[in-house]
Symmetry: D2
Subunit: 354 residues, 4 copies
């Protein structure tokens, strides 16, 4: 099931914050090998290390630093590409690469709600990949586009999935406390966020994503593309002075009652299908439920399982709905680059790519 | 209505974080004069400046710094006292002072839910002071105890009051992002909160307060003490790396529908009774509703009207209930010392003290 | 000495971070009235509040918010202008305004080391204004340019001045811990400075300024412009996660020995000339020396005297030189807009303008 | 050279901040096995996980969490102990353990300047271990005490060592920017350090250590214990809002001139003796010199080589002395627990223990 030899991959938009996470996570990947890095006009033709304002703590992998940045408009001869482009660029480039025969695992929001594009979390809805045949046929693409959700959506839906399967989630109120790294680089000015909170992200756009993407993720593939799950979601997002790790306070209304103990056990015992569990980037366990009164905490829990784990805590009754809890994951690993890499691994493991 | 000469007042527990705010706000008060400062065993008999680890930015007022700290157990001959004691100490000392003829305006939680003790926000429920006669009669006190609510409760209830009057609040989901100063000094360790969030305060105790105190504040005085308002409240509290200013994300279910515009106008036009508006510490306007997409913010809005103002923003529809918005006020001024001083001013203005 | 009626003034580059401080500090100034705000291409012709990303805590003064932004290239008919332009724009615009008859009090570094331009701190070198006659004559300007020093230079030189006069400073080693507001807006990315230190500013340029500007400030006007003071200065600058207030750790070698007590008294007793002391923005006292072991601290001392004060602490012997101490002032008030306003007030008080 | 089987070790004061680092770093150590954890009165007889307020991001190793905490006064039958006690407790307990036959690798300051106790950095002064024979003989101990320096001293001396050997360091001015973890837990209150700097640590005590410990570290063993190096050092310490990683800005006067390039090469090429290089905790290379204008930075460089590396940057000329640079290392790993473990490894490799 692993590829017989490492697959060459491209990173589209490799110089930005998410692009850097792709570089970091792919530098020693057992299945993939970085073959192409693309960048914007000012970077093309220059060594990656020279044009990148590298912001991660670990240094640029030396072999990558000397690679020459290519134009995003030149589709490379690779089976897989990872998309870290801004939405407006992704709208144009990703279909080009799919048309050129490449499977694009995208982190952009451009095609997330496209009815022919899987919005994928391998532990949650791997069966949604079945739509790819129709995507390729209807669009006439030898390649394809697969997307991962918004970083805050991933955090929340990972916890929702087992509860929805077991008890039927009908209503969710969620307030997020999101890290500054979610805004890219330079992103949030220190003058705006030190000793402060900003009670909005993307002028409501982030809340829209959290209120809609889970419906597709927890929905079904019908005859005519996706049928959304029926959950009423209300979101309030905030930006907080935290570097990495999105925290979400959740209140759920369920179709079938569940005690906090039952809900905690349900999340704790949740397992992905076997094929997903064996992927190189899969977390040891999808969700860890902590019993301590003061967890999860972003600094102390974001790096669980290499940043691919999800931590839940404070599972308790809610005066309004049925359950309350707090859930946390790493927004630029689980919620962005790492999530897209896990998607690509599933494509390979299912024999769709490679 | 102002007292003919300044009234001498005591500050109980003057060396702690809230005690210091009392000192700061009373140092130049037009109606009150600090006459007595009490402290714990280790401070008694020493100058205030010597035993106080002063943490506010402005220096200790010089005339106060040289005052000798008194034992809390010695009831002083003053008409008014401000209580900044820990709950366990307040339980013993505040009734002592009331028995000794002093009106105690307390910030402690000890007697907040006592059916004979007014839990007071002058703009919200000044009529609750009527219970004082029964308190004095039944307890046999020539003085009395008046309390102000938990700091997060005040932030939220200020916004609820006009909405409840106009539209009937039935359900509230609230998530708070609370400043470190709420935990006193030394309080929250920097190792716990830098680059981090703590998703609990007081092991659930803070959430209990936010779920119960508003019911008394928005309730009525019946024949047998207070009748609680009927509102189902669910709270999730978090501690965030912010110095001062509690932020709350609120979702409301109303008995009578209100558009965001109507709700914003209702909050913005809310005014306290005339007697309250004229008090020295009253904010120019109880609630300011901001139209910007990214307000309120703690650092930029907490000092509104000397820290006594409340700022609301992002008033918008809610997918689950009727309305969502964000509300903010200064937790150690409006939510603690300043709130207690406003309570005392109302006692004087009504002729109950002085 | 105050002007008979308020003088109309212009703010050049009014929409940026320093421009906003000028607006804030001039909005209720007793001598000046904001008459003209200039901005860049994208702002011209629009109301100030609409084109300004306002970052200060206090709101935009309403009367200013509706003023229409003018092009910097149109010299206005005002006696005084405050310069908050980037250096490259200041190079062109400030001489234009001086040629047009305006006295420009500039915060830019463009002309600070020009031998005909006073680099002015009113408490330190008011006599340097005498060079203005030569500036006007040689440049043929009816107006003039006066500059204030770099923000970190001001912090340090305020403490150096009395010590240099009394004991002769020969050598200084200084390490600064500078606030993020010094980099303007958006300035320092939160991803770069949270839980972090950056050990450089402007790639060495900030250190150059601190090593050279004090020599002019403490120098003399000779026949041929300025004669620099003879002090060997070595600077190491760092950017720290602090919003406002530059802290400097200083070690001094003196020509004539001074004990820490003598040095502390010398700084504490330092007074500006009478004409300067009476200016509206002058601090109550130039330098306050604190005896506490842990002061000065930026958050607790930066707002001294409306942000125009300088705080010194930890005056003690040095194993290498003679004295060590820590000095602090507010970088965007004393070190930028407030300093330029004090300069303008001195021009008026001396009858040079108005 | 490695021990034939894992050596059982004790951690004295295992529940505190440094004790936790020992637990973390020793949990999977190739040579050592945690056999005994000691703690204070309130912890004795209880499981470690129950009595420890664990503050590290990684969870408590499960096998350690269930160990029962022992009294520090009971000397255990182990060859090695790691000391994480407060100074006053170390003064009593460490000699007891040495008397009981245990080699104590201590992080406390109690015996650092004792002329019979090696103050050890294995890369810097391994030959100082020769004093142990005299220590054992004169004190009559079958065991011994070895100490590691103050955390800021280690950071600085690592860079000084190769420069002192090659060019002779005569004078050093150093300003440190120290992380909050250096103060232990709870340590620095968030109310004291958020948006702030504290320009002192231990009321001058930290500066004393930085001004004296390097003289012993870089000195020689003579006939009568140590002969100090002759270097005049002046230190200014500050506490900054950084979690881990001490930064030091250094200016050096040298006996023999060195260009910045020569100095950078000298530090970069510095290597420990072969026996030290092969120790399990030894960094890949003692010092990495960065060429970038804005390094080292605590968040981005502290974890170099598992937190055992030292990073130097901005090597450049100094107007006063000969050289300036910035140096950084991890204060609780290299500067505390990790340093003590490296010391113990050297004791074993030299055959002194095991």
């Amino acid at each position: 099931m692993p590829p017989s030899s490492k697959l060459p991959v491209a990173i589209l938009g490799a110089t930005g914050a998410v692009g850097q996470r792709f570089v970091q996570l792919l530098a020693n990947h057992p299945w993939f090998e970085i073959a192409v890095l693309t960048g914007s006009e000012r970077s093309i033709g220059k060594p990656y290390a020279e044009v990148t304002r590298w912001i991660l703590n670990e240094p640029i992998p030396p072999a990558i630093g000397t690679m020459i940045v290519q134009p995003t408009s030149d589709v490379a001869d690779v089976p897989l590409a990872f998309g870290a482009l801004p939405t407006e660029n992704a709208l144009e480039a990703e279909p080009q690469w799919a048309k050129g025969g490449v499977f694009v695992c995208s982190n952009a929001s451009a095609f997330r709600m496209d009815p022919l594009v899987p919005l994928l979390i391998p532990e949650v809805n791997p069966q949604h990949l079945a739509i790819l045949e129709r995507q390729q046929r209807e669009r006439g693409w030898p390649g394809a586009i697969v997307t991962n959700p918004n970083c805050a959506t991933i955090t929340v839906v990972m916890a929702l999935k087992p509860l929805h399967d077991a008890f039927g989630v009908e209503r969710m109120f969620v307030t997020t406390l999101q890290a500054v790294s979610g805004a890219g680089y330079p992103g949030v000015a220190s003058l705006d966020i030190m000793d402060n909170i900003i009670p909005n992200i993307g002028n409501g756009g982030e809340e829209d994503k959290i209120e809609t993407e889970p419906l597709k993720l927890l929905g079904q593939i019908g005859d005519e593309a996706f049928q959304n799950a029926k959950i009423a979601i209300s979101a309030q997002v905030t930006r907080v002075p935290v570097l990495d790790g999105h925290t979400a306070a959740v209140s759920l209304g369920l179709a079938n009652k569940a005690s906090p103990e039952e809900a905690a056990a349900c999340m704790s015992e949740f397992r992905a299908p076997q094929i997903v569990r064996n992927l190189p980037s899969a977390p040891t366990q999808p969700i860890v439920v902590r019993a301590e009164a003061d967890r999860p905490q972003p600094r102390r829990d974001r790096d669980l399982f290499g940043g691919m784990g999800t931590t839940v805590g404070r599972v308790r009754p809610c005066n309004l709905h049925d359950l309350k809890f707090v859930v946390l994951s790493h927004n630029t690993i689980r919620g962005a680059a790492g999530g897209a890499i896990l998607n690509a691994e599933l494509l390979v493991a299912e024999g769709r790519v490679g």
